[in-house]
């Protein structure tokens, strides 16, 4: 049964973000704030960087605020942080990515002013941005979210997020479904999925963690991954990507959302996350880790698979 999810708090959140942005811009706490603003289509949103208090009223928060803005700190707007401390609006999942970047020396906490969102969920897609947020339209990542309230921010509006109803755990279920198959069925599934890839690299572009200046798959001496959008190279790209994100991915789901070919990228990410949790009890969170699960070890790690 489809159920509506209460997001009436989002207007209060919008007001709170605007006030806070106005305050920190006018007292020069920050030189810019990265947030969301209304998009051209009804209901849609887009990222915005504001630099004056007067622009604070352009900020909004709604169920269509899907983007993980953290990516702007490392890539597109790499130069923004050079202008001084900047403010950024983050949902719980975004914050986990940001925390990961702190741990990977890509950002400094003191250069950031974090405005956390007590999030009740966002839409799964921007195709119908004005759609109501329901148990159907909600993003898959939100269905398994345990971090609705960000921790460790400089400012969080005093609003309690709506407790999410018991939602179908889409990733977990899909992982279980695949795990129950035999290897050749799984291979067929993924072969089909990977063969769709057109190597547009939107997934890489949007991922906060793909901040490499030269991605391994663009290298040709030696060529580690075939560069053409063909089955062999696609498979290699997706496996390599899953490995590179393993233990780092925060689960923001952006890669999957932007993929024009609807490849379930986050399914691979979630599977890796599940394994890392089971093997090493390690998962992305709100606390900066000295080292991730694949840059550290314990002497008594599981080695039952080694002869």
């Amino acid at each position: 049964m489809t159920q509506t999810i209460d997001i009436s708090s989002y207007s209060a959140i919008t007001d709170a973000i605007r006030n806070e942005a106005r305050r920190i811009l006018s007292d020069s706490t920050v030189s810019a704030v990265i947030g969301y603003t209304a998009g051209r289509r009804k209901g849609s949103t887009q990222p915005i960087v504001i630099t004056t208090a007067d622009d604070a009223d352009q900020l909004i928060f709604s169920a269509a605020c899907l983007n993980d803005l953290v990516v702007y700190l490392t890539k597109a707007k790499k130069d923004v942080p050079k202008g001084g401390r900047i403010g950024i609006v983050v949902k719980g999942c975004d914050l986990k990515a940001l925390v990961g970047l702190l741990g990977e020396s890509q950002l400094k906490r003191e250069n950031l002013y974090l405005i956390g969102i007590p999030c009740s969920g966002v839409l799964g897609s921007l195709l119908k941005p004005a759609a109501e947020l329901t148990t159907e339209t909600i993003a898959s990542k939100c269905c398994e979210c345990t971090d609705q309230l960000p921790v460790g921010c400089d400012f969080v509006p005093t609003v309690t997020p709506t407790p999410l109803p018991d939602l179908e755990k889409r990733y977990a279920n899909e992982i279980a479904r695949l795990e129950a198959m035999n290897p050749s069925e799984r291979w067929e599934f993924w072969k089909e999925q990977f063969s769709k890839c057109i190597k547009c690299y939107a997934c890489r572009q949007v991922c906060p963690f793909c901040f490499c200046e030269q991605c391994l798959c663009d290298r040709n001496r030696p060529q580690m991954v075939e560069q053409t959008p063909r089955p062999l190279g696609n498979t290699a790209w997706h496996l390599m990507r899953a490995m590179h994100l393993a233990g780092r991915c925060a689960g923001c789901g952006e890669c999957e959302r932007v993929c024009p070919m609807d490849i379930p990228l986050n399914l691979l990410n979630r599977k890796m996350a599940k394994e890392l949790k089971e093997l090493f009890n390690s998962e992305a969170g709100f606390e900066v880790r000295e080292a991730g699960p694949l840059t550290s070890y314990r002497e008594d790690d599981d080695q039952s698979f080694i002869r």
């Binding site: 290897p183 069925e185 063909r230 062999l232 498979t235 496996l239 694949l294 070890y297």
Partner: protein, 166 residues
């Protein structure tokens, strides 16, 4: 001693990624002790298992490997203190990924073989070869190769010559 060896229909291609200090030395010991094992394995020497990148394993499958062995020093014995601990985590995760996309994990063996374990080297290599032989060729990646309508291979001799000239 020269018993007639049975000829098989299928001879798998086994690629072994090993560290210099333990497993490579263990394989040397198997040699000096004149132990016998199937000739299918090709050994790639690394300074340490810590250097072994999962991408190499993908490469090897793409090159037509039917079985893969990754082997190094026992925990605590790594010549570089902790390379094998890092490798252990890396491959614990990588094999789960391979399994999830449908690679039969029976084609991949991980082992610790010390410089003194020539016998273990022989066992590990023989078992893997026999097992993979029974499984038949690894068709999955080979199919992908066939499906490449345009090879897109940048390592062809012409381009290679251009690179060398650069």
């Amino acid at each position: 001693m020269h018993s007639e060896k049975p000829k098989h229909d299928f001879e798998p291609k086994i690629i072994a990624f090993v560290c210099t200090w333990c497993t490579y030395a263990g394989a040397d010991l198997a040699g000096t002790s004149r132990m016998q094992y199937p000739s299918n394995v090709r050994v790639l020497k690394f300074p340490c298992t810590g250097r072994i990148d999962p991408v190499f394993i993908l490469k090897a499958f793409q090159q037509g490997a039917d079985g893969i062995l990754v082997s190094g020093c026992h925990p605590g014995d790594c010549h570089y203190i902790a390379g094998n601990y890092h490798a252990r985590r890396r491959f614990a995760v990588f094999r789960k990924l391979l399994e999830f996309i449908g690679v039969d994990l029976n084609r991949i063996q991980f082992s610790w073989v010390s410089a003194a374990e020539g016998g273990k080297w022989v066992e590990v290599v023989t078992d893997l070869t026999e097992r993979v032989r029974a499984m038949g060729p690894m068709v999955e990646f080979k199919d992908l190769v066939l499906e490449e309508q345009w090879s897109g291979n940048l390592n062809n001799p012409e381009l290679q010559a251009v690179y060398e000239a650069m």
